[in-house]
Amino acid sequence: MAFIDAFRNRYQAEIDGIKAAGLFKEERYIHSPQRSEIEVEFPIGSKIKKCINICANNYLGLSSHPEVIAAAHAGLDSRGYGMSSVRFICGTQDIHRELENRLTEFLGTEDTLLFPSCMDANGGFFEACLNEQDVMIADRLVHASIVDGMRLCKAMQDTFKHSDMGHLEEKLQEHMDKRSRMIITDGVFSMDGDMAKLDEIVELAEKYDAMVFLDDSHASGFIGRTGRGTHEHCGVLGKIDVITTTLGKALGGASGGCVSGRRELVEMCRQRARPFLFSNSVAPVIVAGALKVLELITATTERRDKLEWNAKYWRGLLKDAGFDIKEGESPIVPVMLYDAKLAQDFARDLFAEGVYAIGFFFPVVPKGQARIRTQLSAAHEKHHLDFAIEAFKRVGEKHGVLGLGKKELLARAGA
């Protein structure tokens, strides 16, 4: 052991620096299952408080659904707890392949490969499928896991302005000398809640012989008429070459992710993607739960329909109350405050009022774009949202932000 004082002091100084910059993150302990009403211990050691949860990725309210829990129990009993092996040694069960087949059908693709998480799917895909002869052209607001995956890949990296199709076309023209071009985008952007213009992206991809990569983690299960995702919403089912998505949000919320798409690309991942090759796959209990989730959401669109209603209702409540929100159709509804300290104070005051939401600020969002990100769930009932808006109004009034637009909010923050 050689964790000498100099090492300890160095790390402590860095942690102090994070605190001084106001970027220190603290966990809140939840003493209940994940649902719309949760019991929270925060700060650590304080009395447990009941809250309305308005910041989970539990879009379809399936994280604690009784049928999903029962299926997970049955999976635990029939297939055991762990595999103690990566997929290629002795870590693949029949139900892993069954889930991959169900996901392929659901997403409308050719094949699917499970990964321990979507972070791993994004981390492993690019290096497995592209090299220095190729170029990756990513929307500037793609998820951090895509950025990490691109960094691990030798292909040329380029970006286009967020959802700017003119800029994307310029980039495609610029890279016609490359062997292949891959356009990379999120389906629903996690911080703004807006959707990629996938129909236009596909059109450009066809014009310039480019592949399309879509991370649909904030869409799978509920965006589109039957919840297939952003590609269904934009009318381009079957035209996306690679979709990565997660089982950790709407699709049960436990963990796990996948690469789904053209069979050759999926096979390249099976042969070469390092997070797939060097890590255990999703545990049997989660696979069994996810199979039940897919069964539930293909049987009826009731949950995604309710989510859609909730999102529309919540957007209306916020607008009527005088909040500055990011327009959109998704269940991600950012309440813009612009100032980092205000976002933190606002979230703290909401918690005191019994509403659990989080302030997001640089580096998670650009400087001067601080916000409270609210997320709707099919598990929310109307009375939850009516309760939450009253809390938002009281806190909004306390901080004097109701009825203010961007310029006034920035001026108020002294920016």
Partner: protein, 88 residues
């Protein structure tokens, strides 16, 4: 403002600022540490400079620090223009 400074500044504004972004870009505005240019987008800036100024910037010299302001980028361009002249 010399020609290269103008070239770099105009490119930064056109390439990295979104429509409606009214931030002023001066010769000393922090671009990378200020969150205006991310490390990926730096690649297109490097390629633009190489093409427009007819130079080669080795990857080792294309550091986030060397690209952090218009002033530093211009200094980098001058350095490699000179290096190229000497090499010729």
């Amino acid at each position: 403002m010399d020609e290269i400074t103008k070239l770099v500044r105009d490119y930064v504004i056109r390439e990295y600022l979104e429509e409606g972004d009214e931030r002023e870009i001066t010769e000393t505005t922090p671009l990378i540490s200020g969150g205006i240019v991310d490390s990926f987008s730096m690649v297109s800036l490097k390629r633009f400079l190489e093409k427009k100024c007819n130079i080669q910037i080795p990857d080792a010299s294309a550091t986030p620090d060397a690209f952090d302001t218009v002033q530093k980028i211009v200094a980098l361009v001058h350095k490699f223009q000179k290096a190229q002249t000497v090499a010729v």
